[in-house]
Each structure stands twice: as structure tokens, then as C-alpha cells.
Amino acid sequence: MLTAQDIQAIILTLKLATVVTLVLLLIGTPLAWWLARTRSRIKSVISAMVALPLVLPPTVIGFYLLIWLGPQGWIGQLTQSVGLGTLPFTFSGLVIASVCYSLPFVVQPIQNSIEAMGERPLEVAATLRASPLDCFFSVVVPMAKPGFITAAILGFAHTVGEFGVVLMIGGNIPGVTQVISVQIFEQVEMMDYGRAHTLSAVMMGFSFVTLLCLYSLNPHARMRYAR
């Protein structure tokens, strides 16, 4: 059965995924809005940067984040100068890394649904005296709802499932950075296959249920991104 350490890892994983999903919706929505509507020449540059985690090995992202967030890195210097210390091997560091890694999974579904909506509903709202902010909440959010749901589910599930980035930036500190995937890896390394089985089965069940929700809530959603 699950040990106390397993349960700690599960709770930490869920907490991480929840925080990351909320942060991603907050920063991913304006980014997706901008990408869907801009005619700027730097759109392709930004799109490519957002999509980078889809093609890079997680270890590469983890490696660079480790350097930038570390005591000699430019972000690390900044966080130290404002008294936050360095972020690697902390929960906050894990959140930052996961946000970078799961960004495309949140931005792209929202961007697609805003693009699919077209300009017309926004123009109609403008002729009905809706300010841009009013229009966003009264028209864009309800019309792009399937995109937001897909984005939230994918962002959450992808964060739960990550391993390489976590290991690079978070290490394996129980209760702080030891998430389920890292815990399983450690158990396998210690030849404790029985406990690894239990946690793996939990993960398997969770992932299946998540995807089942995604497809039944939103039958048109496509898993467009191979890991």
C-alpha cells in the first residue's frame, strides 16, 4: 500500500500541478490572445519560443534553468539581490520550471479557440458598447471555453507527468520537491519494485481518468502534442 512518503509525494504533485495550472492560465491567456490577434513580425519568434518545450529534451530546459536560477545566473543574482535567495531545489523553483515546460500545452489550445472565433464577435461586441475588457469576459471567455478547459486539463496533466525538468531543477527532497515521478524513479533505483508498482498504477489511473474527462467534456479536443 501507499506509504506516508508516497502520500506526501502525491499531495506535493497535486499542489504543484494546481499552482502551475493557475499561473499558466494567468500568463498563458494574454499571451494566447496576443498570438491569436497580432500581425506583428515577431509573432513567429514568440510562437517558436513558446513551442520550444515540445521539442527539447526536458533535461535541456532543466539544465538552462538550473544555470540561470543558480547563484551565478542572471535570474539567481536578481532573486538574491531582492532577498529571495536562489530558487533551484525549492518549490518555487519547481513552479517556475514547470510553467516554462508546460506553457505550450496551455497557450496553444486557447490560441486556437480564439483564432477559430474570428474577428466578428469582437466587432459585434464593440458596436454594442462593450469595452475590450468587457468583451473579453462576456464574449471571448464563454466562446473559447472549450479551449480554456482543454488548456487547464492539459497543463495540469502535463505538470503531473513531468520528470526530467523536476529532477534537474528540484532534485529529490521529500516534501519540497519530491513529486510522484521522481519518487517512482528512486524506488526503482532502490530495487523496490513493489512500491514503484503501487505509485505507477495510481499514476496510470489518474492519467486515464484525466484524458477521459478531456475527451468526454470536449469531444473535439485533440492531443496534438506528442511528448
Binding site: 466578428r120 464577435p121 459585434v124 458596436t127 454594442l128 458598447r129 475590450p132 468583451c135 462576456s138 466562446m143
Partner: protein, 377 residues
């Protein structure tokens, strides 16, 4: 900045007009318009596809920002060299070519969207406000489809809900972009009477974009004809329709529109007599009453010319007049003849051979025989 705080226009501008001076260009297309539209009645903008009608309307609405220009509505500045009021701050209503109802809202919720943003009526006005809502719903005949979602409405119902929505925002200017063009012939026939009704009941100016001569004959008071991004002629409807040089190319739809009043009903023959500023017409009686105002449309191809009053003919309407102008038609075989009848003018389309045989020339007294008078209902 609120609409009522905007800077006033220069003193040379007519303060109550809709002043448009717009230059806009995009990929090979150049729109250049400078005109003052009247601030009452229906101003129709007519022209073939690609003539810039919709772009002009979008610039007035603020949906497209014209590259250069000034737009003043009854003294309020909507655009000038250093100012651009965004669409959502302009007191307009806009009806798009497609109904464009919000798909996530029911018909009623689409209307509520506008009501909520039209500004809070004062408590004392609330009753009046509710009355007005019911009136608009009645006027457009949409009372029984409000519970449904846009996808469950017919094309005609959708467009009428869209018109109601544009009215419920309580606009000071209503902009309509070919509101009937996405509908089939029957639906058009169904909606036109509602639009005519609106026109008489609303006291706000309407700018109506169309490429249908029929809709314009029914609705317009003022006509602006556009071609390739420029205005080719404009003026009160009758004046523009009877203008032969440069001709307003309406093809088979060339003709005039007259406002008349029913003055007599002949019950035996089911006819009605209508009086206009140049004389009298007999029409089929469609259940008219004496004193009713009607708009008559007389196409040039339905008018022929005789040199003498001929009673040995099946034609009911024969009016004396004077030829004021003879012009070439688009077709080399025919000519357009403008005949002054009292205060009004008619246009006849004749073959050039007939013109030569009858010896027609400007200043000649003739009899205009009108085959049928289309009464616009």
C-alpha cells in the same frame, strides 16, 4: 472621453450633418470620400461589390480606422487628425451582413446584452424603456423566438433579432451593411416591410449599404452612388435617380421613385387613385385607404412616349409632360428620355430608332404612357 464631451466641429461644417472626409487605402484599393450626409432619414450607399461601401461604413463605425480623415457626427468628433474614438464609444448601432448573433447566448440573451450596455434608464423612464423593448420586439415580429438559440432560428429570424439588438443599444445613428443580402428572396420580402416600418417609426438617421436597387427604391431618402472607392453622385433619392449625366447605372432597374397619396378608391374596378406632385396615377387597390402615403416606383422600361393623347389604348396612366433631356443608355440601341411631369420627372427607355422616328428632342411636349406602376409596399 465621453461622446458628449467631444470637441465641437469647425464653424464651416453643418452642425447637424454627418460629415465624412475619409481617405483609406489597403492593397491596391483607395477609398476617398468627402460628403455631408443628412442627419435624418435613410441615406443609402449604393454601388457594385468592391466599390468600398462596406469599408466606408466600417470607418464610420470605427471598426476600421481610416488612414486619414475627419468624421463628425452632429458636431461630435469621431475621428480627426489627432483623435480616434473607438467603436465601443460611438453611439451607433450596427447590423452586419450576416446576423452575427453571439452563438453562446439565446436570442433573448443577445437582446439583453445590448439592453445592459445601453445605459441605465432612470427610474422614471423605466416603464417607458420596457414599453420600447416590447415595441421593438413587436415591430420586428420576434416575440415567439426569443427563447431559442441562434442556431435554431431561421435566417430571417436571426437577422431580425440582430436588427432588434442594434436598436436596443439606443443608437443615435444606425448603420446597416447589406442586412438582407445573405437571405433568400422570400426572406427578403418578409423583412423589407419591417425595415420600412422602422424607417417611419425611428427618428434616428440610418446609413444603409446595399447593391439592390429594389431595397433602395423602398427605403432611401438620400442616395450616394459609389464606384471604385469614390462617390460618383449623391443627392436626394429622386434627384439622383432622374440624373442622366453622368448616368447612375442601374441597368434594368433604371427608373424613378415618387411619393404619392391615395386620394380615391374605385371599388368597382379595384383601383386606387394616387396623387403626386405632377399629377394622378391609377394603381391596383391593395386595400388602401384614402389619405394613405405610398411610394411608387416607375421603371424606365415601363414608360413609353406618344405624341398625342391616345385613349384607344389599354394603358391607364397617360400624363402630359415635356422632354428635358435625352441621353444615351448603356446599350447602343436605346436612349433614356427624361420627361418633366409637373414638379416631378419620369424616365423613359426607348430605342434610338423610336426617338428618331418620333422626332423627339429636348423641349418637345409629349404624353408619357405608363404601363404599370409598381407600388412599393
Amino acid at each position: 472621453m465621453r461622446a458628449d464631451q467631444q470637441t465641437l466641429c469647425s464653424p464651416t461644417m453643418k452642425p447637424d450633418s454627418i460629415h465624412l472626409n475619409i481617405q483609406h487605402e489597403y492593397s491596391q484599393f483607395h477609398l476617398a470620400v468627402d460628403i455631408d450626409l443628412p442627419s435624418q432619414g435613410v441615406s443609402a450607399i449604393y454601388g457594385p461589390s468592391g466599390s468600398g461601401k462596406t469599408t466606408l461604413l466600417r470607418c464610420i463605425a470605427g471598426l476600421t480606422q481610416a488612414k486619414h480623415g475627419q468624421i463628425y457626427f452632429q458636431g461630435q468628433c469621431w475621428q480627426s487628425d489627432n483623435q480616434f474614438i473607438p467603436a465601443y464609444k460611438r453611439p451607433i448601432g450596427y447590423v452586419f451582413q450576416e446576423a452575427s448573433l453571439f452563438p453562446h447566448l439565446s436570442a433573448q440573451a443577445n437582446l439583453n446584452y445590448a439592453i445592459k450596455r445601453a445605459g441605465q434608464p432612470q427610474a422614471s423612464k423605466q416603464v417607458e424603456h420596457a414599453k420600447q423593448l416590447n415595441h421593438i420586439i413587436d415591430l420586428l415580429g420576434i416575440g415567439n423566438c426569443l427563447e431559442r438559440n441562434p442556431a435554431q432560428l431561421s435566417g430571417g429570424e436571426r437577422q431580425r433579432v440582430a436588427i432588434a439588438r442594434a436598436l436596443l443599444i439606443q443608437p443615435q445613428l444606425l448603420l446597416m451593411d447589406e442586412p438582407l443580402s445573405s437571405l433568400d428572396r422570400q426572406r427578403k420580402k418578409d423583412i423589407l416591410p419591417y425595415l420600412q416600418q422602422l424607417k417611419t417609426e425611428l427618428d434616428i438617421p440610418i446609413i444603409y449599404v446595399s447593391h439592390s436597387a429594389d431595397e433602395i427604391a423602398r427605403l432611401a431618402d438620400y442616395l450616394v452612388v459609389m464606384s471604385q472607392g469614390k462617390i460618383t453622385s449623391h443627392g436626394p433619392l429622386q434627384q439622383v435617380l432622374t440624373q442622366l449625366s453622368p448616368p447612375v447605372n442601374l441597368g434594368d432597374d433604371t427608373g424613378v421613385v415618387l411619393d404619392a397619396e391615395i386620394c380615391e378608391i374605385d371599388a368597382k374596378w379595384h383601383l386606387a387613385k394616387a396623387q403626386f406632385e405632377g399629377g394622378l396615377f391609377w394603381l391596383r387597390d391593395h386595400g388602401h385607404s384614402v389619405g394613405e402615403k405610398v411610394r411608387l416606383r416607375i421603371l424606365a422600361r415601363d414608360v413609353s412616349i406618344a405624341l398625342e393623347e391616345n385613349h384607344q389604348s389599354s394603358i391607364l396612366n397617360i400624363l402630359p409632360g415635356t422632354i428635358v433631356q435625352i441621353a444615351n443608355d448603356q446599350s447602343p440601341a436605346s436612349s433614356l428620355i427624361k420627361i418633366a411631369v409637373g414638379q416631378q420627372s419620369l424616365i423613359a427607355k426607348l430605342t434610338q430608332r423610336s426617338v428618331a422616328q418620333l422626332g423627339l428632342e429636348e423641349g418637345k411636349k409629349v404624353w408619357a404612357q405608363i404601363k404599370s406602376v409598381a407600388l412599393i409596399e
